[in-house]
C-alpha cells in the first residue's frame, strides 16, 4: 500500500518537474531572442548595448543575465545561454569554451573623497589586502583602522584583482566582502576609512580613485598599458556561435558598439580573438 502510494507520488513529481522544465525551455527559446549571461561587471555594459541593438534589430530580444564569469561559462556549456560574459581571462579548466575580447576594463582602487591619501603602490596595496597594513597611519594619514573591502570569491573583479595585485598572497579573512561593484562603491562612499576596488567605468563623484604605482587611473593610461590594473572583458562562446549570437557579437565589436563601450568608460579593442 505504502509503496504504491510512494510510486504514485514520485510519478506525480516527475510529471510536475518535466512540465516545469518544458515551460522554462519554451519561455527561453523565443524565435528571435538570445540570452547573454555571466559577469556582473560586464552586465551593465551589455545591457546598454542590448538596448542600442534593439533599435537596429527590433525583432531580436537580447536577455542579459548576471551570475558571474564562472556562471557565464557554465551557462554556455549547458546551453542555458548562447553567449557568456567573462571579466577575466579564461582558466585552463575552461578550455571547452572560447573567449572573444570585446573591450578592456581597468580596476580602480577607490577611497572616500575626504581621504587625503592620493596614491598607493601595488606592494602596499597587497599588504593592505593581506592584513599586514591595518592603519591609515602607515599611509601617512590618521591612526584609524582601514576598512578593507573585497569582492566575493569567484567574481570576475575579485579574480582579476587577486591575479594582478595579490599574486600568490592570500586575502585577509577579516576584510569586508560586498557582492557587487555598486555595493562596494556605496560602502566606500559612506565610510571615510574604507578602501575598495571597482571597475574604472563605474567610478563617480561619490568616491575617489587612487593612483597606482604613480599612474593616474584614466582612460588614456589604461589603454596605453601604463596603468597596471587592466583586465579583459570577453564574450564566451562554445564552438561557432549561432547566426543571431554572431550578429550581436559583430555589432558589439563593430564601430558603433565599440564607440558605446568607450563612452561608458571601457577601453575598446579591435576585433580579435583572445584565448
Amino acid at each position: 500500500m505504502l509503496a504504491k502510494v510512494l510510486v504514485r507520488i514520485l510519478m506525480l513529481l516527475a510529471v510536475a518537474c518535466s512540465l516545469c522544465v518544458l515551460g522554462c525551455t519554451v519561455e527561453r527559446r523565443g524565435e528571435h531572442s538570445i540570452t547573454v549571461a555571466g559577469s556582473t561587471s560586464v552586465q551593465p555594459f551589455i545591457e546598454v548595448l542590448a538596448e542600442e541593438y534593439a533599435k537596429e534589430r527590433p525583432d531580436v530580444t537580447v536577455n542579459v543575465q548576471g551570475g558571474g564569469s564562472s556562471a557565464g561559462v557554465r551557462a554556455v556549456l549547458t546551453g542555458a545561454a548562447e553567449l557568456g560574459m567573462s571579466s577575466r581571462a579564461l582558466k585552463p579548466s575552461e578550455s571547452a569554451v572560447r573567449g572573444i575580447l570585446m573591450a578592456q576594463d581597468a580596476i580602480a582602487v577607490v577611497v572616500h573623497p575626504g581621504n587625503p591619501v592620493l596614491e598607493v603602490d601595488t606592494v602596499t596595496l597587497r599588504k593592505i589586502y593581506t592584513g599586514e597594513i591595518t592603519s591609515w597611519q602607515q599611509l601617512g594619514w590618521l591612526d584609524r583602522r582601514i576598512t578593507v573591502i573585497a569582492r566575493e570569491e569567484g567574481s570576475g573583479t575579485r579574480g582579476a584583482f587577486d591575479e594582478m595585485v595579490m599574486e600568490d598572497a592570500e586575502v585577509w579573512p577579516g576584510c569586508l566582502v560586498q557582492d557587487s561593484n555598486g555595493s562596494v562603491r556605496e560602502t566606500v562612499a559612506h565610510d571615510r576609512f574604507a578602501i575598495g576596488y571597482i571597475s574604472l567605468g563605474l567610478v563617480n563623484a561619490s568616491i575617489r580613485a587612487l593612483s597606482i604605482d604613480g599612474v593616474d587611473p584614466c582612460f588614456e593610461s589604461a589603454s596605453s598599458g601604463e596603468y597596471p590594473l587592466v583586465r579583459p572583458f570577453l564574450f564566451v562562446v562554445k564552438d561557432e556561435p549561432e547566426a543571431l549570437a554572431k550578429e550581436f557579437i559583430d555589432f558589439v565589436l563593430g564601430e558603433h558598439g565599440q564607440a558605446i563601450l568607450a563612452e561608458e568608460g571601457l577601453i575598446p579593442v579591435n576585433a580579435r580573438t583572445a584565448n
Binding site: 502510494v5 507520488i9 513529481l13 576598512t147 570569491e153 565610510d191
Partner: protein
C-alpha cells in the same frame, strides 16, 4: 468508495510533504558529501580557513557567525516580542491592541530585502558613527534580524497567552494579585511552552535569513571578535558564492547546507524536548 478515494488523496497530500523533505535532504547530502569527505568532517567543521580557489574549506567562522547573529537577534527580539504580546493581551485598550495587531501583521509582510536595505542605510551608518568599526557587524545583523522575528514571536506568544483559560487570571486576581503579578506569576509560567515555541520559530527564521544579512553583516571570513566585528553566516556564505561555484567549491557550499540543516534540526529537537519537559 468515494470516501475511500478522498482518504487516499489526503494521504497523498500528507505524504508528499514528507517525500519532498526526504528528497531535499537526500539531494543536499548527495551534492555536499563529496567536499566534506575531501576535506574531512573535522577539518570542514572546525577549520577556520575558507579559500575556495585553493580548495581549502573550513566553515568554522561561518558556523560561529550564524550562532552569534542568531543569539543576538533572540536577545533583542525575544523579550521585546514577548512583552509586546503580554501588553496586547492583558494591558492594551482594545483600539490600540487592534492597531498593534495589524501593524505586527504588516511587519511580517515586508520583504526581507527591504529590511536589509533599511539596515544598510540606517543601522550600519549609526553603528559606524557612534560605536566605531565598519558598521557592518554582528550587531547590525542582530538588530535587523530581531526586527524580522518580532512578528513571529509576538503572534505565537499572543496565541499561547490567549489560549489559557480565563479562570487562571481571574483566580489570581480574586486572590488579591495585581495585574502584573497575575501576568508574571500565573500567565507567563502557564503559557511558557507556547512562548518557547514562539522563540524557537523566531530562531529558525533568524538562522535561515539570508538576503538581509548579506546586506548588513559585512561577510568577512574571520571569526567575529566582538559585536562590532563583521561576520559571515552559513546562509549568506552559500548565497554569496553559489552563482560562481563549480566542482568542489559547489559541493562545499552544499556541505554548508548539510550543516545548516543539521543545526536547525538539532535546535528544533532540543527545543521540542524542552517544550515537553516544560509542559510536564
Amino acid at each position: 468508495m468515494h470516501e475511500r478515494r478522498i482518504e487516499r488523496l489526503l494521504t497523498c497530500a500528507a505524504l508528499s510533504s514528507i517525500a519532498i523533505l526526504a528528497l531535499i535532504i537526500l539531494f543536499i547530502f548527495k551534492e555536499g558529501i563529496g567536499a566534506v569527505r575531501h576535506t574531512g568532517v573535522l577539518n570542514f567543521l572546525v577549520g577556520s580557513r575558507w579559500s575556495p580557489s585553493r580548495e581549502v574549506f573550513g566553515i568554522f567562522p561561518m558556523i560561529v557567525g550564524s550562532l552569534w547573529v542568531t543569539v543576538g537577534a533572540l536577545l533583542l527580539g525575544a523579550p521585546l516580542g514577548i512583552l509586546c504580546a503580554v501588553f496586547l493581551s492583558e494591558f492594551a485598550p482594545p483600539k490600540i491592541a487592534n492597531l498593534a495587531r495589524v501593524s505586527v501583521q504588516m511587519l511580517a509582510a515586508i520583504p526581507s530585502v527591504v529590511y536589509g536595505f533599511i539596515g544598510l542605510v540606517v543601522v550600519v551608518p549609526l553603528i559606524r558613527e557612534y560605536l566605531g568599526g565598519p558598521g557592518f557587524s554582528v550587531m547590525a545583523s542582530s538588530i535587523v534580524l530581531a526586527t524580522m522575528i518580532l512578528p513571529t514571536v509576538i503572534s505565537i506568544s499572543l496565541d499561547a497567552i490567549e489560549a489559557l483559560p480565563s479562570s487562571y487570571k481571574e483566580g489570581a486576581i480574586a486572590l488579591g494579585a495585581t495585574k502584573w503579578q497575575a501576568v508574571a506569576m500565573v500567565i507567563l509560567p502557564s503559557a511558557r511552552s507556547g512562548i518557547l515555541a514562539a522563540v524557537i520559530l523566531g530562531m529558525g527564521r533568524a538562522l535561515g535569513e539570508t538576503m538581509a544579512v548579506i546586506m548588513v553583516a559585512g561577510n568577512a571570513l574571520s571569526v567575529p571578535t566582538g559585536a562590532l566585528a563583521p561576520v559571515r553566516t552559513l546562509t549568506s556564505g552559500i548565497a554569496l558564492e553559489m552563482g560562481y561555484a563549480t566542482g568542489l567549491h559547489r559541493q562545499a557550499l552544499f556541505g554548508m547546507g548539510i550543516v545548516l540543516l543539521l543545526l536547525i534540526l538539532g535546535l528544533n529537537l532540543i527545543a521540542s524536548s524542552v517544550g515537553r519537559g516544560v509542559r510536564r
